[in-house]
């Protein structure tokens, strides 16, 4: 299946976008949690605070389905 990972923030460089400047197309084999997919593409899950799909926050245990566009957000703690 094909999924799309997006990030506009500091994760963008890790993500190595290839569709547009924010989006990377990923071919995923088998059914696996987002956490594993991120680790496989070189984005450690420690660098991801939130993932949202279709306007809803999902945990990194979420198992993507074909065509998902998943936006990744970094941990942010400043004030």
């Amino acid at each position: 299946m094909i999924i799309y990972l997006r990030s506009g923030g500091k994760l963008k460089d890790r993500l190595k976008p290839d569709v547009d400047q924010y989006t990377r197309r990923i071919e995923v084999e088998g059914d696996k949690p987002l956490r594993d997919i991120l680790n496989e593409v070189g984005v450690p899950d420690s660098l991801v605070a939130f993932a949202f799909i279709n306007g809803k926050l999902e945990r990194l245990e979420y198992r993507p389905v074909d065509g998902d566009v998943i936006t990744l957000q970094p941990p942010v703690s400043g004030g």
């Binding site: 506009g8 923030g9 939130f50 949202f52 926050l57 957000q73 941990p75 703690s77 400043g78 004030g79």
Partner: protein, 244 residues
Amino acid sequence: MPLSTDQRERYSRQTELQGWGAEGQERLLESSVFVAGVGGLGCAAATYLAVAGVGEVVVCDGDVVERSNLNRQFLYTRDDLTRHKAPIAAAQLRRLNPDITVTPVIAEINRSTAQGLIEGADLVLDCLDNPETRITLNRAAIAASIPMVYAAVAEYTGYLSFLNPPATPCLECFVDGTRPAVHPPVPGCTVGVLGSLEAMEALKFLTGTGETLAGRLLVVEGAVPSFDVIEIERDPDCPACRGL
């Protein structure tokens, strides 16, 4: 208490808002907001609360002013270096609006102090700079049944939500408080936007106008730029709010 002639004129540009009116302004003048941290977020948020006429603004911070604060913490100047932030911020806010009470508190927010510090507030604003203290504040707000506005920033990124469990998630339902504190680069404009939005959440809640971000997380990506509103849900296993 009915608005004075001076107050009617001073606040006229906001009392004209649908649903706000003199009654909303009177509610605001009778409200107390605890601003946890008067750094970047806190300077912006407290300023807009003060000029809007929130009756009591409590500004709490244990830190002193450092030179590296001055790119974004606009209530301070070079003359304030090494002085505690809270009294300086309070004096500036009083100058902006002598109509209200501004209470400075020089204190660290921790497990021993948090509950006592926020007592009596109608709303808590999280303007802190590290996950651990945010979690402490979250737990104190839950214990006292006081709603809290959450915001956090780094670089051009910011997050914001209105937390009032059990009606909404609490902070620990969606934020990992065990991550180490970092001091990321932050331009003043990012904390200005997010701090202003915190004040906006507060003013909506206190006047009963508009809709808060209850159950939703605003994600600001200034570098793209984009503003996204994401649904968030309570975590049934949340260590802070399960069982409420």
